[in-house]
Amino acid sequence: MIASPAQTPEAKVAYDARWQRVMDCVNLKQPDRLPIGMQPTFWLAKYGNITCRQLMYDYDKTAEIAARAIQEFEPDCHSPMFLATASGRALEALDFKQLQWPGHGVGDNQPFQYLDAEYMKGDEYAEYLEDPTGYYFRRYLPRVAGVFEGFEELPSFSSLYYTRLVLGMRAFARPKVRQALERVMKAAEESERLFNLHVAFEERMAALGYPASYMYSSISPYDYIADYFRGAKQIMTDLFRRKDKLLEMLEKVRVSITRSTIEAVKASGNPFVFIPTHWAPDTFMSDQQFTTYWWPPFRQMLIDLIDAGIIPIPMWESDCTKRLEHIADIPAGKCVYWFERTDMVKAFEVLGDVVALRGNLSPSMMTTGTPAEVDAAVKHLVDNVFNKGGKLILDCAFGIPDETPVENVRAMFDAARRYGG
């Protein structure tokens, strides 16, 4: 929870009630009413009638629109929505290469999109496993952000010892390295500015009585390697060609992701961590592959986070119906499982005694349906999950789709209060 000196007694009461509503769900207790989550990204552009590009670049306007949305809809928990979209300047300062965003590869009114690519080559597993940090500096970072171009010339840090350090550090005098360091410092200033504005925004929301769903996001070990290192095609063939190396890297990154997540979540003051998952869906791998590669390192990560007092919110993308029995194997009352396309009633049947649930109004209905259809979909979830004892936090399948008509979002919140109150 974010402490804010400006919180009035009334706002504190409202904040505490909202927080308690969500925490009751986590603790598998019946809340006083159905809590509602709000997680927009570029929907805020539609809501505020500005372009996606403005939303990414205009810090003041984005904060104003995000605050207006939170104050209109009064969610029980909201995503860090300023941070989620206002990153244009920081991305530009970094010369970030893994995203295309408005003005940088996509149009002014389109959302940012991730560029799937082979950021780590297949024959580089060994190099990564031997020295992850060295690999990061000399290989990975220059590939994913232009400011790091020049870091290829850095020495192997483990070779710098005693008097070898004296001459070994000459690399920092090379023009490319100096230039990179200067660009990195400049980019870091913009990142710092973005982060401080994000924290200030959330402190202001807390002062007004609105808790954040989480302040930090993390990732499963498998998805970390698949999405940000190997790329989609390569990770799928690694399941046949590089099984041992993949398992070794999974174990290595599990430890580092867990450690960095615990540090960041503790520093944020909010005990939740949002973990969108990408490669767990039913059709993405066999049960045997799932229980060999995907689930064991992630389960251990969840256990370690839970032991550290953190409340994970894995967001199970797509349809994970066949995974439900496996992912039920965690301590009860410690997580929120957010489902995208998995049938929530089925998820409730399998997981109702284990986790709080979040979701999952369908994107097609939210974007193309009528308010009456949204109302009926909310009622369905209330009748079949919440009123049957399911600890449900109502939300869209994966946040509010960018194109959702504002009246459908209003219908969602109105229906939640009508049926889940």
């Binding site: 996509v106 799928m236 063939t237 399941l239 059709t283 592959q289 396309r341 960018d402 194109e403």
Partner: protein, 217 residues
């Protein structure tokens, strides 16, 4: 030494890449008919497709099979007597990721599965402008169009693409299928497409239903 045909088919179908490549290379080195190698690859892909439909195989197996076929194809191509590459004749399936969307993993898998099932596929790539679809439909007269999209913005892009094809007077007799990301029956109805599919084999089944089994043609 003659090629153990069953061994090659099984190697591909069982995801044994090393054996599949070795058997193909050895057979070709000994003068084995390259066209027959391609036929065996297709036989293996029938097994892969059937296992996918039975939920024994998933995306990684389709991807791995694609990798094996690509490598064997590269060995075979220079040896084929004509330059048709065993390319299918007949109805064209036009495919592309709709305007505004840059995702192509699913589209590429659908393209691959259609091709190994004998369909001639023309892939327009990603972020395809509506007018490009319309112009290509006019030029190529495809039997089927596959519109792909991962993001929710694709719903409107699909709808607008279908509408533009209709306005151009090109919709009659043309089947349009959509797939990817959040696509479901609601989106199908919204876009005016004829059908939606949840995976690559669904796309194959739809095309087979609409224009027949291409392999037999």
């Amino acid at each position: 030494m003659a090629l153990d045909e069953a061994a090659l088919v099984n190697a591909i179908a069982d995801m044994d890449e090393d054996a599949a490549l070795r058997l193909s290379r050895e057979a070709l080195d000994q003068g084995f008919d390259p066209q027959r190698i391609l036929d065996l690859c297709r036989a293996a892909m029938d097994i892969v497709g059937a296992r996918f439909e039975k939920n024994e195989y998933f995306l990684p197996e389709l991807m791995m099979a694609g990798e094996m076929l690509e490598q064997i194809g590269a060995m075979v191509k220079p040896l084929l007597m004509d330059d048709s590459d065993g390319e299918a004749a007949g109805p064209v399936v036009l495919i592309g990721t709709v305007a505004g969307d840059l995702h192509d993993i699913g589209k590429n898998i659908v393209t691959f599965m259609l091709e190994v099932n004998g369909f001639k596929v023309v892939d327009l790539g990603i972020d395809v402008p509506i007018q490009t679809f319309v112009d290509t439909v006019r030029d190529l007269k495809p039997a089927v169009i596959g519109l792909s999209g991962f993001l929710t913005l694709a719903f409107d892009a699909m709808k607008d693409t279908v509408a533009a094809i209709e306005q151009a007077g090109l919709r009659d007799g043309l089947k349009i299928m959509i797939g990817g990301g959040q696509v479901d029956e609601t989106v199908r109805s919204y876009t005016g497409a004829d059908a939606f599919g949840l995976n690559a084999m669904a796309a194959v089944s739809l095309c087979q239903g609409w224009i027949g089994t291409a392999k037999a043609a």
